[in-house]
Symmetry: C2
């Protein structure tokens, strides 16, 4: 039904290989025949079958971005920047969602194994998936670049914010805002949360400011929060608010300040001060693209974490 090279070959009374060459701008085919072929191809609305072409080329000129969803800036913005940049380089970026679903994630990793893309960017979910598919990809040196965080590093490359420095800066902001003690809610199970935790702890211990590191928002130490001004540090405003709601009564006299990343998406009333670290998603995307393109050219990239400085720190609200 669709037009094939063969159809054009017959129409022009030449061999299919000549048609192929003409359409690929091979200088060896005569001006005349080339023109004839190009014109009849256009007239017949010929479109090459990429599956066939990929099969012989062994390459797809396609890259994937595996993302848990599209709810946050960390998913939306790298998607857009990567897509723009890569299309300039001749690659199509396919954004593929796994809905925070481990089964879907594994299924998609498996797809990558099946030659559907020349490489992939991955924004992993918070939890570590025990994905044996990684092993297969790693074995074949499949070009993989993690974005923002990584759950099982071992030789991968990850492009992320300079999370340690950013957390330290948020600490400084909160102190300016009057905080005399900190509650830290950063997750430990992914590289970004872990770096933030480390950065905050280090900054605080240097200044000898007490802090409480919590895994779950419902736990806390009431006596610790009782007096003075508490700062709540977390990756999202939602986490900070959930913590606040759980311990509302402790803050009735002295509302806390909060230091978080990217966007404040909740009501601001309960907090005396709000400080944001805006990540440089464009910078992250550019670096990730650079690394991917290097690897596609066969150059080796040192594995590890690549840190991009935060874009800016802003005070959404001040005490």
């Amino acid at each position: 039904m669709a037009i094939r090279l063969n159809d054009i070959a017959q129409a022009c009374e030449v061999d299919i290989s000549t048609v192929s060459r003409a359409l690929r701008n091979d200088p060896r085919v005569r001006e005349n025949t080339r023109e004839l072929i190009r014109q009849t191809a256009a007239k017949m609305r010929y479109a090459p079958n990429l599956a066939a072409r990929n099969l012989v080329a062994g390459t797809t000129k396609t890259l994937w971005l595996l993302s848990p969803d599209l709810k946050n800036q960390i998913e939306q913005e790298p998607a857009q920047f990567l897509s723009e940049r890569l299309s300039r380089e001749g690659y199509d970026l396919m954004i593929v969602l796994y809905h925070n679903d481990p089964a879907a994630f594994r299924r998609l990793l498996m797809r990558l194994t099946q030659h559907v893309a020349d490489g992939a960017f991955i924004i992993p979910a918070g939890i570590a998936y025990d994905a044996s598919e990684y092993a297969s990809l790693k074995k074949n040196k499949y070009p993989l670049v993690f974005i923002d965080r990584n759950v099982e590093l071992k030789g991968g490359v990850t492009v992320t914010t300079d999370n340690g420095a950013a957390a330290a800066e948020l600490v400084a902001k909160c102190i300016e805002g009057g905080a005399d003690k900190f509650v830290i809610l950063f997750e430990k199970n992914n590289s970004a949360g872990y770096e933030r935790l480390q950065g905050a702890e280090k900054a605080l211990s240097r200044k000898k400011i007490p802090c409480l590191i919590l895994n779950r928002p419902e736990k806390t130490d009431a006596s610790f929060l009782k007096s003075g001004r508490t700062a709540i540090l977390s990756s999202t405003s939602t986490a900070a608010c959930v913590f606040y709601e759980h311990h509302k009564q402790l803050f009735s006299a002295n509302p806390p300040v909060a230091g978080i990343f990217d966007q404040w998406r909740d009501r601001t009333e309960s907090f005396a001060g709000i400080y944001l670290c805006r990540q440089d998603f464009r910078g992250i995307a550019e670096k990730a693209a650079d690394i991917m393109l290097e690897r596609l050219k066969g150059e080796k990239t040192e594995s590890g974490l690549y840190h991009i400085p935060a874009q800016e720190f802003i005070s959404l609200k001040q005490p």
Copy 2:
């Protein structure tokens, strides 16, 4: 480098066709050989080359969603719902962005022509692109489903909100909020904006309430706005705010109310009342998926607009 069927065939000392059958669960191959083949395939970490498979199948089990970007709910939510639903049906959804760039859009339409996906959902940009690629897709009866709006209908299918009814309801809300005249900023160049315009006009003329239909926010009729309470109707809060900013002084005595779609993303201070129509993106996605799956099965779908009722109307702020 990658393992092929042939490698397994040699390892098991059977023909490649037997390997193919065993791996595809063909009941005709003996239990014993099948097990042997499956196990060695697993051991060698065999992964089929989908380009090859697609070439013979003539199908990709892949669908595209062409989206201008990921900034608004209308792009994010259908993407998520479609992706979830379609993966349940055995299709991979590739979200591909064209950045509101006509050249990129045409390039991607052309890709669709090249057998990279079995069908595509399209969220068209506001402006009409004169894309000759459409002709080629249409000629081959390529399954295309437009979402939210359509710029050149002619025989396509579009799933969208019941925009006329929604606009009428927003009119009613604004009247409840005290509006005695309307400024309408809906765009006329796409089906959604056009339907909204029609719906609002009809509702207003029925109630004999005056309205001003504007193409550009900087124009207006000062005497029209002078007294009483104006309602501003537009698709986005930004459009309403831009209009407000242009004519601030006219509203100093009587702040207007606004009726818009989905989300209010700007400051709310200038407006006395704010009414939102939340579209039912899940409903839209489900319908679009239904239609696509029908078409992939070869069933014909009547072309035209499919209207999904709005999800809810809410008052963000009341006078």
